[in-house]
Every structure is written in C-alpha cells, then in structure tokens.
C-alpha cells in the first residue's frame, strides 16, 4: 500500500506533467516558459500573502468556493495555469504548489531539454552579453538555455546566475562582502 509521501509525490508529478503538457499543447515552449515564470511569481506572492494562502487552503470553504477564488485571483495568468491552480485549490492541494513548480522545472529540463537560467545584473543585457552568458550556461548544463533577465542595482555590478538551485554569484556586492569579511579577519589576527 503506498504511503502518503508516495501518494503526494505521484500527485505532484501528475500536476506538473499535466501543466507542462497542457502548456506545450496550448502555446509551445513560449507558453511553457510563461507558465513557469507566472507560477514562480504566484509562489512569491503566496509566501508573503497569508490571507491568500489561507483562503485557498481554508477547509471551511467548499471545494467549489476555493476553485472559484483561485480562478478569480489568477484570472490574468495563463488559462492553463489558472485551471490547474483551481483544481489544486478545489482538492486542497494548493500547499503542494512549490513542489509542483520544482517538478515542472525538472520535467521542463527532461522533456524539452531546456534549462531556464535566471540572470540578474545592474544594467540591461545587450545581445552580445546574452550570447556569452547563454553559451557559458549551455556549456555548463549541457542543455538548451533560456535566460530570464532581471535588473537589480543593489548588486552594484557583476552578475548573478541561478538555475535549479545552482547559483553563480559574481556580483560586485558579494565580492565586496567577501572583501569585508577577509579584511576584518585579517585585521583581527594582526598586530596593531
């Protein structure tokens, strides 16, 4: 008899594959990537918005009411994602969304041979830089790469790349932070 953990794992994999296949069917790779980005944003919002999270998991609402709430809140998202979220809310599985998103990214890599690399810089990338970064990421990961660009001036300079839990931090702010640590440690050990 399968345990709850195995059941949940199967459930997560099913949600992720349904989402991926429906997205691919609806709009190809662009839709797949769009849904990935939108799901990531939804996760970020749900982490900070407890009211939304409790509304979607509240057992005092009927399943239909939870599905209606999900459809209303995520109406502006891709219709495939909206429907899947509504089903998850209806069945009380919205807490699995993080795992579903991770499984979705894994299946995206396995089935489409694509990795989405989040790139954060201080200035907008030009085509040359995109090409350089893409080539490096493809060489490292051995798959096709799609860049998701973000501008964050708090980096001060340099670049921050992450994919599937892996991360390359070549930002100036982290280098300065390292320098600060090294400087303090060196000074602590030295004579005045």
């Amino acid at each position: 008899m399968p345990t709850n953990r195995l059941l949940e794992k199967e459930k997560v994999a099913t949600y992720a594959s349904v989402l991926l296949e429906a997205a691919q069917e609806a709009g190809g790779q662009d839709a797949v990537l769009e849904i990935r980005d939108q799901a990531e944003q939804i996760l970020r919002i749900m982490r900070t918005n407890m009211d939304l999270q409790s509304a979607l998991t509240d057992s005092t609402y009927t399943p239909e009411q939870r599905a209606t709430i999900a459809r209303g809140v995520f109406a502006s998202c891709n219709s495939v994602l909206t429907e899947v979220l509504a089903v998850m809310a209806e069945r009380g599985d919205i807490e699995l969304l993080t795992r579903v998103w991770n499984a979705y990214c894994e299946q995206l890599q396995e089935k489409l041979n694509v990795n989405v690399v989040d790139v954060t810089t201080v200035v907008e990338l030009d085509d040359h830089l995109r090409e350089v970064i893409k080539k490096k990421a493809e060489a490292d990961l051995g798959t096709n790469v799609v860049l998701r660009e973000r501008v964050d001036t708090s980096l001060l300079g340099g670049i921050l790349m992450s994919v599937g839990g892996k991360r390359i931090d070549a930002s100036v702010v982290s280098q300065l932070e390292n320098a600060r640590i090294v400087l303090k440690q060196t000074m602590d050990g030295g004579e005045c």
């Binding site: 200035v123 490292d140 300079g157 390359i168 070549a170 702010v173 400087l183 000074m187 005045c192």
Partner: protein
C-alpha cells in the same frame, strides 16, 4: 634506749646483791656500833639494819616485780615512739626530697615545655606570616594579571571594532564609487569578464 635501761637495771641489781652479800658475810660490821664507838658511829645497828634490809629487799622485789616493768615498758614505749618518730621524720624527709626532686623535675619539664610552646608559637607565627605574605603577593599578582588581561582584551576589542569600522567604511565608499562612477558599458564589460572568469554550474 631499751638496752641502756636493761644495763642500768642489771647494775642496780648487782649493787644490791653485793650489799646484801656483804651484810650477810660480815655481820660484825653490822653489829659493830653496839660494841664500840668510833667506827660504830657509821655502822648500822643490826636491830635497825635487818628490818631495813628486809624492807629494802621487799621494796626491791616489789619494785622489781611491779615498778620496774612499768618503768621499763614506759621507756620501751618512749623508745619505740621516738624511733618511730625518727623513722617518720626520715621518711618525711626522704619523701619531701623526692617530692622536691619531682617538683624540680616537673618545673624543668614545664620550663622546657613552655620554651617549646613559645618556640612553636613563634615558628607557627612565622609560617602564618609567610603564608599570608605569599597569598597576598599571589593575589596581588593575580589581580594585576587579570587587570592586564582585561586591558588587553579591551584594547583588542577596541582595535577590532575600529578595524571593523574602517573595513565597513572602506567597503561602503568602494560600493558608492563603483555604483555611481561606472557607466552601463563599463558594467557590461565587467559582467562579460565575470562570466568568463566565473566558475561552472557543475562545480561543487
């Protein structure tokens, strides 16, 4: 005393015996006064002499029988008493000398003991004094060492804080300089250089 009394009794007995014997051996001398003057004047008359002699003998016998033993007993008792007293006096003297010796001995011991006690007290006092001095010195040294360590720690903390502040200020200044002074193109060049120099996603 007893021997002297016996000797005296024996001599007195002998004298009386000689007198009696002479009277009985030479009765002419006893009756001489009746026959002639001269010497007769000093010789006893027999009619007086015999009764006197008898009375004397009777008296002597009575005295020898009853008086002399009492007298001798008194003498012996007195002799015994004096001898006992002398013995007691001698014993008391010996005892007093023994006691005196004992007291002297005890006094000497007490003196020696008191001297020893004083010496020990002095020694103990010296030891206590030395111990207290040593402890005081150790405590003083510990306090000085503690104070020195505290000062050193404070000094290190102050230096560390100062150096940390210097590091923070330096980094802050560097951040501002980098953030404000670099153009977009310079930022892109830095990104390219970092991408080429950065490690791999596959690196641990």
């Amino acid at each position: 005393m007893k021997a002297g009394a016996k000797r005296f009794a024996a001599r007195l007995g002998a004298l009386l015996a000689v007198a009696g014997s002479a009277t009985f051996m030479f009765p002419a001398f006893a009756f001489a006064s009746e026959e002639s003057g001269g010497i007769d004047a000093i010789l006893p008359k027999m009619d007086e002499f015999i009764p006197m002699l008898i009375a004397f003998i009777v008296l002597w016998i009575i005295l020898a029988k009853f008086g002399w033993p009492v007298f001798n007993g008194m003498l012996e008792k007195r002799e015994t008493n004096i001898r006992e007293n002398l013995e007691k006096a001698e014993a008391a003297r010996i005892e007093s000398e023994r006691v005196l010796q004992e007291y002297r001995k005890q006094l000497d011991e007490a003196k020696a003991q008191s001297a020893q006690i004083v010496a020990e007290a002095k020694k103990t006092g010296e030891a206590v004094k030395a111990d207290m001095t040593e402890k005081a010195q150790a405590e003083a040294a510990a306090i000085i060492e503690k104070a020195r360590a505290a000062i050193e720690a404070e000094k290190k903390a102050a230096i560390s804080e100062l150096q940390g502040s210097v590091a923070d200020i330096s980094i802050s200044v560097a951040s501002r300089v980098i953030g404000s002074d670099l153009s977009d193109e310079e930022h892109r060049k830095i990104v390219e250089r970092y991408v080429n120099e950065a490690g791999s996603f596959n690196a641990d």
